[in-house]
Amino acid sequence: MLSRVAESIYWMSRYIERAENVARFVDVNLQLLLDQPAGIQAQWDPLVATTGDDALFSDKYGEPTHETVIKFLTFDTENPNSIISCLRAARENARSIRENISSEMWEQINDTYLMVTETPEEWTMTEPHQFFTDIKIASQLFIGQTDNIMSHSEGWHFCQLGRLIERADKTSRIVDVKYFILLPSVVDVDTSYDDIQWGALLHSASAFEMYRRTHGMILPNSVVHFLLLDRDFPRSVLYCLKNAEESLHAISGTPIETFSNPAEQGLGQLHSEFAYAQVDQILNTGLHEFLDAFQTKLNLVGEDIYKTFFALRPVDRISTVSQSQMQ
């Protein structure tokens, strides 16, 4: 497979996943606000913080408000991680590899993009839930088509790799930001409001029902464990790492637990770290520090994937061709 094509498949998949994640946690937070006790200042900062684009936001809008945050995360074309920017980037990548993916996959991405461009912006204020649900369904349809129409060969594994790395990153950010916000509010501990907030965290990762079936009571430690370390829940970080590693090895042909390139080494180490971690130990040493280190390591894996598979250089001609996609 052409390096450029592999890279475009990888990013197409990452951007679709990113759009879905943004839609999911904006939706949940909007609903959460409806439950907020009167007199408490609405918290818009965490939403922006989750995407990691706080600096860009404050440069452009200053203090976060309902309107500006929603605008920034949905229809702002200057924000590279807004829903519309993600879908556009996914579509551009898909367009450059149409001959490699099925027509159905292309049409699904194209349809989603056209749907969003035809949606009046004010719907995100008047009918937000419907809008975000449409985005989530579109992403799930695309993933379903990828699974059931595309051959599970090299291209499909690059698709998996992109999606799972993106998902691991976003789940870890959701946990990081929410945990940081939620924990200090001692006043609320054991109140129904506390329960609702932890529930919202689970909803942000579409994990609420599955969590209930596994753990029952909503306890902070169990929520963190479920989102980071659960073996079976497909949006937990451990699950993503394990399956990303399998795809990476399927691409290179190297057996798992050995490695032939830095990406395999880095991802293998991360996977082991999570596989043998305990939630109490993580909390004792500091959740934020743990997640921060994780995100840095995951970014390094992303760079190593780029160097190993996408940036092939002949020995004699060095040129700087790189796709400036956003990590």
Binding site: M1, S3, R4, A6, E92, R98, E99, F310, L312, P314
Partner: protein, 480 residues
């Protein structure tokens, strides 16, 4: 009231109706069938078809701004029908023409016999912008230069078909021929039972056969790639479509590299050799070491690999010398010289401004003529005398005087018309026809080709960049 009861040919040649308003024999069945449709049904199907084009992303880029404006290529649902006898004549004429043009190009870059024998003046060929000195002495694989041609044909008011130009560079539009047929089958399945129509869906197979044939004498399983300038190119859909249908890699310049005397593409498993490159970029951009040094679209060192015979390029660099509109005017003589035959499909009569008599005539009659630059296409750089102002004509008079070699003139043909759905009724619009010809083991002509329609009322310019649309083109298997 029937769909066609108000239709008026306005005294012009119509592809479907004779001057007294009765359908031509081959289209009679079609007209009856359309007249039986319920009111409004045609518009409904037209809208459905257009939305399908948008969803499938069958679009071209008008210009690349931040949003990348994409438009669908307007599609009209009434097919253009070509009778089997007429097509047999067109096919014969095109094969003759391509055969002779290939001999001409090969001669121009080798012995130049046709110039030495005084059939074409030296300076006409050697002054052409498209004549490439870098190609002198080159022997393309299998001796073929013009593998893919999209010759434009037009019909004048008296019914005579002429060749307008050959398009030997990177003619586009063939993907619309295939997609239009598929769209027609989806939209009007009931119309297909009436006729025996020659298929067009096998074009990608013919194309792949031709591409592989070029190197099959030295490579067992040739690796074919299609080189595109990228997603912002106006014909990107076509590049992607053809690569997908043939199952070959679609590559950009940055995917390719010359190493150890061969062309390679960068893959996730290392470098892989390419034997055949169907390039959809112009000669100028192919190799920055040899041609335009600013080009980012091509591959440094590509021409060296080509010259060493380790790569087939389609079409061969240098081919476009025969596309120069002044050289094109000599095609009747070229055919006579190499094949000793008379030309079957005539050229549109052409005045060459570099010849004194012709130029004087052109300058005096400019308001009746169409003036074209020798090396422009796509409807750019031309003047349609009867539709232009005095100032525009004056501008071209000055340009011709300054650089007579760069201009030709042709009489303003009254292009034939076809009915087109405009709002809720049919109106006549001018058309041309671009058949596609492949030159491999033998010469193959795709039955039909792209019928382009000038959608603006009275307009004679059919190019998609200038508001043109297209129609499905049916070549019938049996004569009527």
């Amino acid at each position: 009231m029937t769909y066609f009861s108000e239709y008026n040919t306005d005294g012009l040649y119509d592809e479907m109706f004779t001057s007294d308003g009765s359908p031509r024999p081959a289209v009679q069945l079609l007209v009856e069938r359309i007249n039986n449709f319920e009111e409004g049904e045609f518009i409904r199907r037209q809208i459905t078809a257009e939305y399908a084009l948008l969803r499938m992303g069958i679009t071209f880029n008008v210009y690349a701004d931040e949003q990348g404006v994409e438009k669908i290529f307007p599609f009209d649902l009434i097919p253009r029908i070509i009778d089997a006898n007429e097509w047999e004549w067109i096919e014969r004429g095109l094969k003759q023409r391509i055969h002779a043009l290939n001999l001409f190009i090969d001669d121009v870059y080798h012995e130049q016999k046709i110039l030495k024998d005084g059939i074409i003046p030296h300076e006409v060929v050697l002054s052409s912008e498209r004549y490439l000195e870098q190609c002198i002495g080159l022997d393309p694989p299998r001796g073929i230069w013009c593998h893919i041609t999209g010759t434009d044909l037009v019909r004048d008011g008296d019914g005579q078909i002429y060749v307008l130009e050959d398009n030997l560079g990177c003619p586009s539009g063939v993907s619309y021929v295939v997609e239009n047929r598929q769209l027609m089958k989806r939209t009007f399945p009931q119309l297909f039972g009436m006729y025996q129509i020659q298929p067009v869906e096998d074009y990608p197979s013919h194309l792949l056969d031709m591409l592989q044939y070029l190197v099959s004498d030295r490579v067992m399983t040739p690796e074919v790639a299609l080189l595109t300038p990228g997603i912002y190119n106006s014909a990107y859909f076509e590049h992607s479509f053809l690569a997908q249908q043939m199952g070959v890699e679609l590559v950009e310049g940055r995917d390719l590299v010359v190493m150890d005397g061969y062309l390679h593409m960068r893959t996730t498993k290392g470098f892989q050799q390419v034997d055949v490159l169907y390039r959809r970029i112009n000669d100028d951009f192919l190799d920055p070491d040899v041609f335009d040094s600013e080009s980012l679209l091509g591959v440094p060192g590509l021409m060296d690999v080509y010259k060493s015979g380790r790569l087939a390029l389609i079409n061969a660099p240098g081919t476009c010398v025969a596309d120069d509109k002044v050289v094109c005017a000599y095609v009747p003589k070229i055919i006579k010289y190499y094949l000793n035959e008379d030309i079957i499909i005539p050229n549109v009569p052409t005045y060459m401004c570099w010849e004194d008599d012709d130029r004087n005539y052109v300058l005096e009659h400019i308001e009746e003529l169409v003036i074209k630059e020798a090396n422009q296409s796509g409807g750019y750089g031309m003047l349609i005398g009867p539709h232009s102002t005095k100032a525009e004509c004056e501008d071209f008079i000055q340009r011709i005087k300054q650089n007579p070699r760069n201009y030709i003139a042709q009489p303003t043909l009254s292009l034939s018309r076809v009915p087109v759905l405009i709002d809720d009724h049919f109106e006549g619009r001018h058309v041309d026809l671009r058949p596609f010809i492949l030159y491999g083991e033998d010469i193959y002509v795709l039955p039909g080709g792209l019928t382009r329609v000038a959608l603006k009322k009275g307009s004679l310019v059919v190019n998609s960049s200038q508001g043109g649309g297209s129609k499905d083109t049916w070549v019938l298997s049996n004569p009527f």
